[in-house]
């Protein structure tokens, strides 16, 4: 399979040399050192690996890097340019919506995408929108609270 030479990540064109069949997750983590995106299951079941591709949430563990050539990829590292936290990041801190924090990158990007599609979601809409994400520490009620708090504060990124 042809190799992919370039990836648009967090607003920057990054040079890579990766087999197109490799997962986006492994290229981000191993070739570009963007380790904020996490491996959790490898089968799209936990959403720890969530990134935004052209603004849409995607499971990078089951996305081939060949499928994202020419598309804009945003990872958790791209959400707070120049250290200014995204409102969803602020809200997660404020609500203490984490314990170990391993699911947090994926949760935050999932929440950013949810709020962009639905700026003021109800509890039920948050539950159905976020149900693909697993927080094994069980901070779900706090994540719901954080998403409500961030609602209406804009879904930039």
């Amino acid at each position: 399979m042809a190799n992919i030479r370039e990836l648009d990540v967090n607003g920057t064109r990054r040079r890579i040399d990766a087999d197109a069949g490799r997962t986006l997750l492994s290229v981000l983590r191993e070739d570009l050192d963007l380790t904020g995106t996490k491996y959790g299951c490898g089968e799209g079941q936990c959403a720890a690996c969530t990134v935004l591709i052209d603004g849409q949430p995607a499971r990078s563990c089951i996305t081939k890097v060949g499928a994202v050539a020419g598309k804009r990829v945003v990872t958790i590292e791209g959400l707070a340019p120049e250290g200014r936290l995204h409102p969803v990041q602020e809200a997660f801190l404020e609500a203490d919506a984490m314990q170990c924090g391993y699911c947090t990158s994926g949760m935050i990007l999932g929440a950013v995408a949810l709020l962009r599609a639905n700026p003021n979601p109800s509890d039920a809409e948050i539950v159905s929108g976020m149900n693909g994400h697993i927080c094994r520490c069980g901070t779900y009620p706090r994540i719901i609270r954080a998403i409500h708090a961030a609602a209406g504060k804009g879904g930039r990124a």
């Binding site: 492994s26 089968e43 958790i76 314990q99 539950v127 159905s128 697993i134 927080c135 094994r136 069980g138």
Partner: protein
């Protein structure tokens, strides 16, 4: 680095070492450059630049110990939280620690760190009094500065280039909880910003120059033995190094052969392992998840119990499912080994590595970055050992991150169990007879907290077909489930309300009564209204220094159980951090719901079939009830840990609510893996 070398490297300032056993030390006698005690539990250093660094062998796996310990230093040393740095779980830099386990950090390490900080504060007072020639009582310490009249100085200025080392005993007085200003408040998670920005480096995020990615070829079945291996196709892949090491004694179900690869990226490593052609000799017949319960009883040491009228419960094995699977990076440098790994026992992992490679203590360093959870499931050093074997053979650093399937197959499990119970309540509500047997799971919370004369309670050692180990609250979840659901059957047998029945029999435990009453009051137990297909249940217990009571409301629709509302009252002495405590309580309820309703490990023939998240259901957003926590803050009692005890109430509370809704007791965990209808327990 040896400890004494470390202190030589520290430079000027104050170092306080806390000896765990005052009797073995020259208690309280300060000294400069004195002998390093061997049983130091914690230490703290204030540099000439005023930087405060504290050291502990404890680790943070999400329970927020880094934050609580940092707050302890800030409290006693009167410095801002942000000015304290904590080195945790690094065998070269921190004092020895057995393990982060048993909810031990708060009752044990937290007061030690406070004593070290309090001593440093007193030393600073002495230095300031000497420097300014003023009375000690005229000096106040606040916000990282000492002040007396017109004099003021930062901590670093006070030490004046001296190196002061003091060894203290454990009887240093501490600031009482009623006077806390930082401790006891909701200090935010100290690493929070790194986490929400993706900057925090978990063990699996460790990167070293020239690092390769490793993978191990595991047997297709627990205990299968390697019969032949052809590694030529794997070796033909560019950049791949194949390793085959035969151990002197087998590594449990992994066997004696360590076969693995190191490759430039993880996917090439996976391809290389797939290209290894191995033949295996199958292991002997092994019990399955459906016949394991009779296996437990058949293999009980001393034979099974023979009491009359015993009712049988079954408890499934559970997987911890830490969202970050086991991970390690190993690096060799001139015969010395450094490993970064996610473990609750960095010193235990060091011991494993020392034994395997026949190395002295100072040649092995284990570093534990704050890790993607543990829940009692990350004590062994399997990934660390594999990374170190591969790195040694490859001559380069190697990362060995387990996949989800590997994590859910080759890690250890929370034990399954058979539990038998019998009892009798008098018409006035007093429990007259009580007999209780646990096979395999363990003795945690085996004894009833209720007042029962002549209770007969026994833990029966037996054989486990699966590798098993610690889990949040160990066997207390299983034992509390059976005891508390059977309590409701006893209450029913005499027509007594479950609340009144518990309060009557908890007459000897005021702390237990307090949480029961607090939960019932917030829940509105007295005013609950029975409607069709709805049920209400409660449960209580104590473990690891905490007391818990849980009330639940559920609905049952066509056998499907939905938990609607949960109120949990929790008391663990003086509250260290209210918001983080609530977070633990909520998280424990969430995790406990999984084991209560649907989580169970399925296995047969030495293979785990529930080895993925698509085959092993864990709680999700949609499973969450409305949760209210009620914290009883007992400032008159020492603080106890909270990572475990809050998990024990939810399963029996839900079980009792099902009994209330359906009239039928549920005698297995999980209670409703495919709904109640098909939840018949395995054969015993």
């Amino acid at each position: 680095m040896r400890r004494r070398d470390f202190f030589a490297a520290l430079g000027g300032g104050i170092a306080v070492l806390l000896a765990e056993d005052a009797g073995a030390q020259q208690g309280g006698r300060g000294g400069r450059g004195g002998q390093m005690p061997q049983d130091v539990g914690a230490w703290l250093h204030i540099g000439e630049d005023g930087v405060v660094t504290a050291y502990t062998g404890k680790v943070d796996v999400g329970q927020n110990s880094r934050t609580s310990l940092t707050a302890a230093v800030a409290e006693e040393l009167r410095v801002p939280v942000a000015s304290v740095r904590f080195i945790m779980g690094d065998t070269a830099l921190t004092p020895f620690d057995g393990a982060t386990a048993g909810s031990g950090t708060t009752p044990n390490m937290w007061p030690q760190i406070r004593r070290a900080a309090a001593t440093a504060r007193e030393m600073l007072l002495d230095l300031a009094a000497q420097k300014w020639n003023v009375d000690r009582s005229s000096i106040s310490i606040a916000n990282g500065k000492a002040t007396s009249g017109s004099h003021t100085a930062g901590f670093g200025e006070l030490t004046q280039g001296q190196k002061l080392i003091k060894t203290i005993s454990s009887d240093v007085p501490l600031t009482p909880a009623t006077e806390w200003k930082v401790a006891g408040t909701s200090v935010p998670k100290v690493a929070g910003r790194e986490i929400v920005t993706g900057a925090h480096k978990y063990p699996s995020d460790t990167r070293r120059p020239g690092m390769l990615y490793g993978k191990i070829l595991y047997p297709p079945q627990f205990g299968a033995k390697l019969a032949s291996l052809d590694q030529s196709a794997a070796e033909a892949i560019p950049g791949v190094k194949v390793v085959h090491e035969i151990l002197a004694s087998p590594r449990g179900a992994f066997g004696s052969d360590v076969v693995g690869v190191a490759a430039p990226d993880s996917e090439t490593a996976s391809k290389a392992v797939a290209a290894l052609r191995a033949e295996w000799t199958p292991a002997a017949t092994q019990p399955s998840s459906s016949d394991v319960y009779s296996y437990f009883k058949q293999n009980a040491e001393g034979g099974p119990a023979s009491g009359a009228g015993l009712i049988t419960y079954t408890i499934a094995y559970l997987a911890h499912v830490p969202l970050e699977p086991r991970a390690a990076v190993a690096e060799w440098n001139e015969g010395k080994l450094t490993v970064w790994t996610g473990t609750q026992s960095p010193f235990g992992v060091r011991r494993e590595l020392m034994e395997h490679f026949q190395l002295p203590e100072e040649s092995v360093r284990v570093i534990m970055p704050d890790t993607g959870s543990g829940y009692g499931g990350k004590h062994q050093g399997d990934a660390a050992l594999e990374a170190a074997i591969l790195a040694k053979a490859a001559g380069r650093p190697v990362q060995r991150n387990w996949t989800r399937e590997e994590e859910m197959t080759w890690a250890y499990f929370r034990p399954g169990a058979v539990i038998e119970v019998a009892g009798k309540a008098n018409p006035d509500g007093a429990i007259a007879e009580w007999e209780f047997h646990n096979y395999n799971a363990g003795a945690s919370a085996l004894r009833t907290p209720y007042h029962v004369p002549n209770a007969r309670e026994q833990f029966h050692q037996t054989k486990s077909p699966l590798r098993q180990g610690s889990y949040r609250c160990l066997a207390a979840t299983a034992n509390n489930f059976v005891r508390e659901t059977y309590m409701d059957e006893l209450a029913r047998s005499i027509g007594m309300d479950p609340l009144a029945f518990r309060l009557k029999n908890a007459s000897n435990d005021d702390r237990l009564r307090a949480v029961i009453q607090a939960a019932a009051e917030r829940f509105g137990w007295a005013n609950r209204k029975k409607t069709p297909n709805h049920g209400f249940g409660m449960a209580a217990g104590f473990e690891k220094g905490g007391h818990v009571a849980t009330c639940a409301e559920i609905s049952v629709t066509n056998g499907e159980v939905k938990v609607l509302r949960v109120v949990e009252a929790f008391e663990c002495g003086a509250v260290v951090n209210p918001e983080h405590l609530r977070n633990q309580v909520e998280g424990a309820i969430s995790m406990g719901l999984g084991g209560a309703l649907f989580e169970h490990v399925e296995f047969a023939g030495g293979k785990i079939s529930s080895n993925r998240l698509s085959r092993y259901r864990v709680p999700r957003f949609a499973d969450m009830p409305a949760i209210e926590s009620v914290l009883l803050d007992r400032k008159d009692l020492p603080s106890a840990g909270a990572g475990e005890c809050p998990i024990i109430g939810i399963a029996p509370a839900v079980g009792n609510a099902i009994l209330d809704a359906t009239g039928q007791p549920v005698r297995s965990l999980p209670m409703a893996p495919q709904g109640l209808v098909r939840s018949a327990p395995g054969t015993v």
